[in-house]
Symmetry: C2
């Protein structure tokens, strides 16, 4: 009996399941989780699986606060075979999970499938009335797309290895399976080369990953069923390479590490053989560190001005019939693809590398959108979507959730063409994040993208997604992320002598702007500290989202919404009183005042609702205008609090239209 | 010019200084802290000092969020000489610190003094209007007592080595200098013995420190100027030893690890030479691991029943003229003291070991009080106070702060006798804490005890202490403690599907009971998980303390207390609405209802105050009675929220006595 219970996804039963499995069939009863909890394999097992089972026990202990001493196998892992030793594109990741009152069983064809199932098991544990338990259920699950990635830019801001490891844990928790490591850019070259040591020595301010650390990351990821794809961006975005090796560049140099953000002129010289000889040696060295067959060469945003300004390059291009910069880049890519092939690697790059003369195995990662992706697919190339998954834009999770690799222009593709669309990757560029803030910009939003890429296409209910996202966000905290921890720490640091909880009330009601809102707000560079209010504030406010929902429910039927009414009143009161408590004299002065005004408007509106009166139209109009002003960002932050207050106001006005004046 | 500015201790200027230095002379101007910040030694330096300077830079970076790249020495460390290689009792810990707009200087006679000064420097950094800064100041500082300790019981609940390390960091931050490691008890033997491996193998459930870990802890502590004193409690509290070595016991056994709390019968056999031969070998092995000259032998709470029930022991006692259990323990201690001396160690033990026939070097740690301490001192022994510093009682910090080793009976001692009182130790027994909750029961209270033991006796202002304690609590979070982190995590785990922030409102208004309130509340043992609300709740509520202060200020002059009024109204509103949001059906139902009632009473009272009316006497009386009921603990938790509400009510009633009725 196969039963897909979409309609249940809005029930609290599924509180923490993300991504949502393909099939969930609840049964009655529950398995108690107590200190005797133990996990055991039957069938195939190996060291990777054993480590994962130990991690699961630790995690259950952390989730529940139960001192697990083991002794009674509550969960059996039935794994048929090892599967690929290193996680492979398209490997079997499916699993089944059965929970009864007597025990639980995860069955999978491969170790990777078992890993995925164990993440589901951990998420499935909840606090019941008798203590922690896993409710009886039958789950069948497999991913929709085989490539579900997260890209982290470690060049623009340095991310110590601990950041990478904790993000790998988080990725595994939401079943993402590709870590795309953007290792070089104009601002830094972040991986140790022993053949060309000046790359990291002069190109990284001393912040780079040693080869031992790289091996550790690769092994850590493998343990969690995650592939690691390195990216060395070329031929543009390469200023940092030229500090130590100016002979690679199209202009004479000298070069310095780039401190600013943007697209810069330094570009590799495609006309000299020594460039390719260098890349051959470097890629050979790097290829040995990364077991995955794919190697990312970037290829985006090439500024051709050094090429056009060089008479030597122009003459070479003319000799070779390369009529423009695009043709030159095409030539460069074909040479690099050959080098990659020599070292057993397949090329992947951004849209710009797309060129009908590349090998068909080449994969295109699209930051431009589904149309670009569809063209590549029609031309026979594999593709990944990243357009719509740019986390540095700080869009709401619902925005990313609504983007599907197979939507729009991809709908017209044939089945074969669609099969070449392998999945997608969430991307975090690091102009406006550092090691302290990156987690809070990647997570929990990336979990919504993970669901889009793993779960059946029909899983689209935004309210359900947000409900589960809140639980997932807490779960990710237990897994080791610092997105919530650092929020608190940064606010307290900023509070100084002011009451930290009042600053938190303001931050909880605010949303940080993404790259578009910050780029021109002041002069940013890699030397500017990211420790202001905007850096602490989250991209999306959980508080405000809950308020919006509560406001809608109160408007729908005030009699059955006592707890929502209480929540609205409590939060609006806190807002109304907050400016008197916080009284900021700095860039937050305006935001703080506005929040208190919003609180007062909201309370007043609630009072009208309670009395069953519509507010006077003129008053409503005046408040709506005031709110309109408050929507405008200040200090690179948007006061999200205006949203529920507007809902209340507009609702109250409609509630008894034509009423008292 | 020497100027002791006590009166300034209530000013926000000293926000985070704890313990308060002996002399603080503020000057004008401030040293900016920016990315060029660097620390450099001039004069004596060594690896220990260099490591401390690197830690300081890391900490400043964490405190400020500034990406420190160095380049300009802002802080010079002038250290005259190394001082003792291993931290020594009575070593020179003094330092001076001078900060001007141009730079800062710490001068000290020893490396340990420099370490103390660097902690003060980190605390002194604050957020000014222009960014982070250290205000110009001249500080002279030295400790009042040479022995300022923290004891952690790692036997009753296992504390992994990470718990110890982070607590050492916290100790160093508040200038505590002795870590007393309670390594064995009835419930476990927690240190690896290679000569007698069954001690840890059969006596610890596999949770013990390897000798490598012990060396690491000792070295980590040395780096921070902290001595490590091991305690092997004997001849009572030794059940865990007898599981592997029953021949040491006074009764035939067999023995099992004790799972319950209390005082138990198993006791070492003092009548056989093989007991002393065993201890000689074991202490010899242990002595080599701990460089400190003191070795703690416990000696507390010996239950003599096995001695009195054994005809062999009784006969032996009679032959040796040992007329009672106290005499037998005295004999045992003298033998152990001899063994210790043979291995270069001096004995320290609890009150019970006090016996005029022990060597004068022996130190007595008093859990019984200043009278016991004074007697020991008069008899020529050294002493430490722990009475009043038992953190597992979960008393308010002000209680511990008010206890002084030289108060009460100690006041009548001669100067020489007083000098033998070396200081004190905060103690955390672990019946009701585990590795997740221990930090929140030790800290920040232990910082108040640290101030009592370091700062001049005249530093006693409780309000100032609490103001600074809040800052210190946050600072300790940055140093690596998990007292605040785990509070959030535990509440979220407990919240399940309920709104976590509503559960937090309840927890913020609650205070956990200590050992006296829990002992008989249910059957506790080492097998009972400590993951309930009472375990998450703090010993003392910051929120309530602030509310109490705000209430007093509002009553004192309502016109100048707008921010206090706002704070009261915001928090009381949150309380009033909270039960509708949380609606707990479990053991928290009563607490939650009461909190909302308190919120409503408080809001009503505020309204009377705002109108300048006294509430009707009958109403006031009724509310005070209701509040009286709410003071009673439920679910092992006290609803601290009643305190500010009572202040408001009583104040409002007095405010215009005889007013409107």
């Amino acid at each position: 009996m196969r039963k897909v219970l979409w309609f249940l996804t809005t029930s609290p039963m599924f509180a923490a399941l993300m991504p949502m499995p393909s099939t969930v069939v609840p049964a009655s009863g529950a398995l108690r989780i107590d200190s005797s909890f133990a996990v055991q394999a039957r069938g195939y097992s190996d060291a990777r699986l054993e480590r994962a089972m130990r991690r699961l026990v630790d995690r259950v202990s952390r989730q529940t606060g139960i001192g697990i001493r083991g002794g009674k196998t509550a969960l059996w892992i039935e794994c048929a075979a090892r599967g690929p030793e290193y996680p492979a594109l398209g490997e079997n990741e499916s699993y089944r999970m059965d929970v009864t009152e007597e025990g639980a069983r995860i069955s999978a064809a491969t170790v990777t499938g078992a890993l995925r199932g164990m993440e589901t098991f951990a998420e499935w544990i909840e606090l019941g009335s008798q203590g922690f338990e896993a409710r009886a259920v039958h789950i069948e699950d497999a991913p929709r797309f085989p490539w579900r990635g997260l890209m982290l830019d470690v060049a623009r801001h340095w991310m110590p290895v601990g950041v990478i490891l904790r993000n790998l844990d988080a990725m595994a928790a939401v079943k993402l399976n590709v870590f795309h490591w953007h290792l070089s850019d104009d601002q830094a070259f972040r991986i140790e080369s022993r053949r060309f040591p000046r790359l990291q020595q002069l190109g990284s301010d001393g912040h780079f990953y040693t080869q031992d650390e790289v091996r550790r990351v690769v092994e850590y990821a493998r343990d969690r069923g995650v592939r690691v794809i390195p990216e060395l961006d070329m031929p543009g975005h390469t200023t940092s390479w030229f500090v130590g090796y100016p002979e690679l560049a199209s202009a004479p140099g000298p070069y310095q590490i780039e401190r600013n953000w943007g697209i810069f002129q330094p570009t590799m010289d495609p006309s000299r053989e020594r460039t390719y000889a260098f890349l051959d040696e470097l890629i050979g060295e790097m290829a040995a560190l990364f077991p995955d067959p794919y190697f990312h060469v970037g290829g985006d945003e090439v500024n051709a001005s050094e090429w056009t300004q060089s008479t030597a390059i122009q003459a070479w291009a003319a000799r070779n019939g390369l009529k423009d910069a695009h043709a030159i880049q095409g030539y460069f890519n074909r040479r690099v693809a050959k080098i990659l092939a020599k070292h057993g690697k397949t090329m992947i790059g951004w849209d710009e590398i797309f060129d009908a003369r590349l090998d068909r195995e080449t994969a295109i990662q699209s930051w431009r959108g589904q149309a670009s992706l569809a063209s590549a697919s029609r031309a026979g190339y594999r593709g990944l979507l990243s357009f719509g998954y740019y986390l540095d834009h700080l869009e709401p999770a619902s925005f990313h959730y609504g983007v599907d690799p197979l939507d729009g222009p991809a709908r017209d593709l044939s089945a074969g063409e669609r099969a070449r669309i392998l999945g997608g990757e969430a991307c975090m560029w690091s102009e406006y994040v550092d090691s302290e803030t990156i987690d809070s910009r990647v997570w929990p939003s990336a979990a919504a993208i993970a669901e889009r890429l793993w779960s059946p296409a029909g899983v689209r209910d935004v309210d359900s997604m947000y409900d589960r996202l809140e639980s997932v966000s807490r779960m990710l905290d237990q897994v080791g992320l610092e997105h919530r921890l650092n929020y608190e720490a940064m606010l307290e640091r900023l509070a100084g002598e002011r009451p930290a909880d009042a600053l938190r009330v303001l931050a909880d009601a605010s949303e940080a702007l993404g790259i578009a809102g910050r780029r021109n707000a002041r002069h940013y560079s890699s030397l500017v500290d990211l420790n202001r209010f905007v850096d602490a504030a989250r991209p999306e406010s959980e508080t405000v989202r809950r308020m919006e929902r509560a406001a809608r429910r109160v408007l729908a039927g005030p009699d059955e919404s006592a707890s929502e009414m209480a929540e609205l009143r409590a939060t609006l009161s806190a807002w109304a009183d907050n400016d008197a408590r916080l009284a900021p004299k700095d860039e937050l002065a305006g935001l703080s005042k506005n929040l208190s005004v919003l609180g007062s408007i909201g309370l007043r509106t609630l009072e009208y609702l309670r009395l069953g009166q519509a507010p006077p139209q003129a008053w409503t109009q005046q408040q709506l205008e005031a709110i309109g002003e408050m929507e405008k960002p200040q200090a690179e932050v948007r006061l999200a609090a205006f949203r529920p207050v507007r809902i209340l106001l507009e609702g109250a006005a409609q509630h008894s239209t034509g009423g008292n004046k």
